[in-house]
Amino acid sequence: MQDDSRDIEELVNRSVYILREGKSRNKKVAALWSMGKDSTAMLSLAREAFLGEVPFPVIHIDNGIDFPETYKFREKLKDEWNLDLIVAESRIQPELSGFSCCGSNKTDALKKVMDEYGFDALIVSIRRDEHGIRAKEKYFSPRDRDFKWDYKNQPAEIWDNYIGMESDGGHIRIHPLLDWNEIDIWRYIQMRDVPINPLYFSVKGYRYRSLGCTHCTVPIQSDVDSVDGIIKELKNTSVEERAGREQDKEKEYVMQKLRQMGYM
C-alpha cells in the first residue's frame, strides 16, 4: 500500500536543486542510466534543471544480456533527448549469479569507464525506500578509490552544507532521487509524460516492476498496461518492489556487502 498524496512538485524542486549542486560542485559528472524508470525519470529531471539539455554523459553498463526492448528504448531516447551516451561493456560470467554477478561484473566495468574518462562524480538514481540499507544514504556521498562506502563516517549534511566530502582518489555519488518513493516516480512519469521502457507494461498477463538484466529479473503477474494502472496497482499492493529480483532473495547483509563493494 503506497501513499499517493505526496507533493510531486516539491520533490521535483528538491531534485533539481541537488542536480544543479552536483553539477556545480564537481569537475566531471556522469550519470548511470539503466533505461529503467528511476534513472529515466532522473534524466527528465536533469532536463528540467538545465533548460532542456542533459549536461553530462550518461553511462549504460551493458552486460549484453539486457532485454531487446531495453536496447531499443535506449536508442530512441538517446536521439530524442540528445544524450551523450557511453556504453560500458561488462562481460557476463555464466558461473556467477545474483550477488557475485551484479557485484563483480558491473562494478569492474564502471570502474574502468570512470578511470578512462576521469569522472569525479556519478549521479545514481537510488531511492531510500528501495531497501533497508539505503535508509542511511545521503544526497552526496563519497566513495573511495575501490568504490567502497564508509557508511559509519559519512559527511555531515547540515542545512545544505556538506562537510567532509573528500573522496581520496575516489568519487562522489550524487543521489537526486533519494527522497522519492516508487509511486512518486510513477506519478511524475504520468504528470510529465516521460517516455518509459515498455517492459513495465503487461504482456500476456505479466509485467516487470523492477528491471535488472534478463538473468536476475522475474516479472510479476499483472494485467496492467498503462502508467495510470501501475499507480493504481501500487496503491493496493503490499509486496515489496524488489521481490522480483533474485538478488534480493539472499540475506540482507548481502546488500550491505554489495554497497560496500561499490555496487549501486
Binding site: R6, N13, D129, Q154, W159, I163, K251, Q256
Partner: protein, 401 residues
C-alpha cells in the same frame, strides 16, 4: 528521534514501523531469523538497524531515515545516533526535522541525562520547534503514576527553560517493548488521560507548523549561471517572497542590478516564482565574477550584507587553526572568532568568554575575509544556518542571531 543510548529509541522506532504497516511480515520473519542465527532474542529494534555490525554492537552509526504513515499523515523518522562522538550526525538530523521525539527511560537508574538535555537543546536551536517526550519503560514500575510525575515535572521545567511554550510539547508515558500508549491510548493506564504517541504526532504535524516568519522580500540563492540564447540564465532556488518577470533585482554582495526578463520552471515559462521553487531566471546582463552562493533580491533587501556575523554555535571540536564558514555550501575564509559567552547545553550553565569546549555552545562574533549576504536564522533559515569547518572537518555549526 532523540534520546540517550539504551533508553529504548530503536525499540520504539521498530514498534512504530510495525504499527504503521511499513514492515511486511516477510521482513519481520527475516529479522527474527537473523536474530536467532546471531544467537540473540528478537527485538523490534532490529527492524531499523539493518547493518549487521550495527545489529551486533547494538548501536546506530549514522542517521537512518524511514517513512511511516498514520491516518493519512506521512512521517519521515530520522534516527540519530545517541553517542557523544556522533554529534555531527545528530546535527545533520536536527537541521532537517520539524518535530523532535525524545525517548527518556523511566527505569530507576536511567531517567533524564546530560545527553538527553543536550540533544533537546541542540535540536531546538537547530529549528525543531515541537517535541513529544516519550517516557519509556513504564512497564517496569507497572505504569505507576508516581514514577511518571517527577519525570514529567523535570522535563516540563527543562523545556520551559529553553523557551518552549506549553502547546509546543507533550509528555507521554509509554512502553515501547510492551506496545503501550503508542498507537492508541491504553485504557488500563487509568490515571493518564492524554494522547497516545501517534495521536500526538498527528496533532503536532497538522498544527500550522513553521513559526519562522517569512522574509517579505523576494530572494533567490544563485547556484550557477549558464548562457541561454545570447542571454544569461541564473539557476537557483527561491527562498522567500515572490519573483515576477519584468522585476528589477540586485545581486548581494556586490549590488549589481539586473532585469528579469523571463522565469523558467523546468522547460516552461512561468508568471511567478515562490519560496521553495527551483527556477531559472533569464536576464540580458552578464556577470563578471563568480556569483555562486550570492543572493538575488531587491534593492530594499531586508537581510544583511557584512563581513561580521553574530552567531550561536554548537561545537564538536575545539576552536583551532584556519577556519572557513559555510553558508549554502559556499566556503568563506574566517579571519577571527571571538567568544562572548559559553552555554553548556546539558546544564544550561553560562559563563562569559574564554575557551569553548566540544559539546558546548557559544555566542560568537565571526569576522570573515569578505562580505557575504545572510540573515538571522529566525527570519530566514536558508540564510541563517551556518557551519564552521577546518580542512573540511566539522568544527561547529549553528545559527545567525
Amino acid at each position: 528521534m532523540l534520546g540517550h543510548k539504551d533508553h529504548g529509541k530503536s525499540t520504539l522506532i521498530g514498534r512504530m514501523l510495525i504499527a504503521s504497516g511499513k514492515v511486511t511480515p516477510d521482513r519481520i520473519d527475516e529479522a527474527k531469523r537473523a536474530s536467532s542465527e546471531a544467537g540473540v532474542e528478537f527485538e523490534p529494534a532490529f527492524l531499523l538497524d539493518t547493518f549487521s555490525d550495527e545489529r551486533e554492537l547494538g548501536m546506530t552509526f549514522d542517521n537512518t531515515r524511514v517513512q511511516i504513515s498514520h491516518e493519512d499523515t506521512l512521517f519521515e523518522l530520522i534516527d540519530v545516533p545517541g553517542h557523544e562522538e556522533l554529534m555531527k550526525s545528530m546535527l545533520s538530523g536536527s537541521s532537517s526535522a520539524d518535530i523532535g521525539v525524545v525517548v527518556v527511560s523511566a527505569k530507576s537508574d536511567e531517567g533524564i541525562t546530560d545527553q538527553t538535555r543536550r540533544h533537546v537543546y541542540v535540536a531546538k536551536m537547530f529549528g525543531v520547534s515541537r517535541f513529544v517526550v516519550a517516557v519509556n519503560k513504564m512497564d517496569l514500575s507497572g505504569f505507576n503514576e508516581e514514577t511518571f510525575k517527577p519525570l514529567k515535572a523535570e522535563i516540563g521545567d527543562f523545556l520551559g527553560n529553553i523557551g518552549l511554550r506549553k502547546q509546543d510539547f507533550e509528555i507521554i508515558p509509554i512502553s515501547a517493548r510492551g506496545d503501550v500508549n503508542i498507537i492508541r491510548r491504553d485504557a488500563s493506564v487509568k490515571w493518564y488521560s492524554g494522547r497516545s504517541l501517534f495521536e500526538s504526532l498527528v496533532a503536532l504535524a497538522h498544527e500550522s507548523g513553521n513559526p519562522h516568519s517569512l522574509p517579505p522580500d523576494p530572494r533567490l540563492i544563485i547556484q550557477s549561471v549558464i548562457p541561454r540564447n545570447g542571454a544569461t540564465a541564473i539557476l537557483g532556488r527561491v527562498i522567500g517572497g515572490e519573483i515576477k518577470p519584468g522585476m528589477k533585482m540586485t545581486v548581494f554582495p556586490g549590488s549589481q542590478d539586473i532585469d528579469v526578463t523571463e522565469i523558467l520552471k523546468g522547460m516552461k515559462k512561468a508568471e511567478s516564482a515562490h519560496k521553495g521553487e527551483s527556477v531559472a531566471l533569464v536576464t540580458a546582463e552578464s556577470f563578471g565574477g563568480d556569483v555562486r552562493g550570492s543572493v538575488l533580491s531587491v534593492r530594499s533587501f531586508t537581510g544583511k550584507v557584512s563581513n561580521s556575523i553574530r552567531a550561536h554555535i554548537f561545537f564538536v571540536e575545539p576552536l583551532h587553526g584556519e577556519l572557513s564558514l559555510l553558508l549554502m555550501d559556499v566556503p568563506v575564509r574566517v579571519l577571527k572568532v571571538t567568544v562572548d559567552e559559553v552555554i553548556d547545553p546539558s546544564s544550561g550553565r553560562r559563563r562569559k568568554g574564554g575557551e569553548v569546549k566540544p559539546l558546548e555552545t557559544a555566542i560568537v562574533r565571526i569576522t570573515l575575509g569578505k562580505e557575504i549576504a545572510f540573515d538571522t536564522f529566525a527570519r530566514c533559515r536558508e540564510l541563517g544556518g551556518i557551519v564552521l569547518a577546518h580542512n573540511s572537518r566539522l568544527v561547529g555549526s549553528g545559527i545567525v542571531i
